[in-house]
Subunit: 168 residues, 2 copies
């Protein structure tokens, strides 16, 4: 984990500046980060101009009810999977009618890991534009707090990438 204590705030500020410059809006569906991504986004004064809100869909019920993850997806692939992250990003973007929807689902640890899906496995999804979606798989090797922080950074960078794609 990085040693710069201001790294998250600086990155959130960078994301915020780009959103302000472009007039784009963002929202988030979070599982293992538990709201930390949206909290960091809104650590920036004035972020209400572009941060519409978020959902902490910790339970499977919340994933289905709030951000329209299909039950079949959860049954076939599990809550921590590429397809679930994809549907969370699409679903939260539709829910908030935002330009960009970001999602995080993973296993922060220390419990909950399996040989197939170990602690630190996290999927970060992003939906934007005309049905564009990107999901990246990460395998962090930190503790619970570190895995959450790494995932937030990945989510913020996913927003930056979506902004750059949208303004081409």
């Amino acid at each position: 984990m990085t040693q710069n204590p201001n790294e998250l705030l600086e990155l959130a500020q960078k994301v915020g500046n780009r959103l302000l410059e472009t007039g784009l809006t963002v929202c988030a569906a979070e599982s293992c980060t538990g709201g930390l991504l949206m909290s960091n986004l809104t650590d920036v004064p004035g972020s209400s101009a572009y941060a519409l809100g978020g959902v902490v869909s910790y339970s499977n019920q919340a994933k289905m009810q709030l951000v329209a993850v299909q039950k079949a997806t959860l049954v076939a692939h599990g809550a921590v999977s590429e397809p679930t992250a994809r549907e969370m990003a699409i679903g939260v973007r539709a829910l908030f009618r935002a330009d960009i929807g970001v999602s995080v689902t993973g296993i922060a640890g220390p419990g909950g890991g399996t040989p197939e899906k170990p602690v630190g496995l996290v999927y970060v999804g992003c939906a934007w534009g005309n049905e564009k979606v990107n999901v990246v798989e990460y395998r962090w090797e930190s503790d619970r707090a570190g895995n959450k922080k790494h995932s937030v950074i990945a989510g913020l960078n996913a927003i930056l990438a979506a902004i750059e794609d949208l303004i081409i």
Copy 2:
């Protein structure tokens, strides 16, 4: 602001232990804390047993759409008000069908303050039991990060109070 860096985690652990002991569940609707309350609740390993999820209802649209705050309430009292905090707590509890619903709405600053509603004004609501609701008004005098942290602590303590009332 307190100088104990582990205060939040220790308080979240205390809340988590009480929720585990009592089998109760919790959810949160957050505005000015931006997800930080739920993130702190879920910093505790195993918190998925009792933390069903949350909503970051940063915009008025999100407050109405997701946690059923009435437009008339927002018009008459504003987003940062006792009635809005009350409806957010009731609304999020219903949304997640949780035993306890906690809400936070306020002005974290540095912008957004008025003489009537200054920076640091925060309402923390809690809904539980048979239509029980409590809302407390706070006037923090810290910076944005400090006002968010104070509000999270107040929200966690509101959950503790609701637990104790529920198990009488």
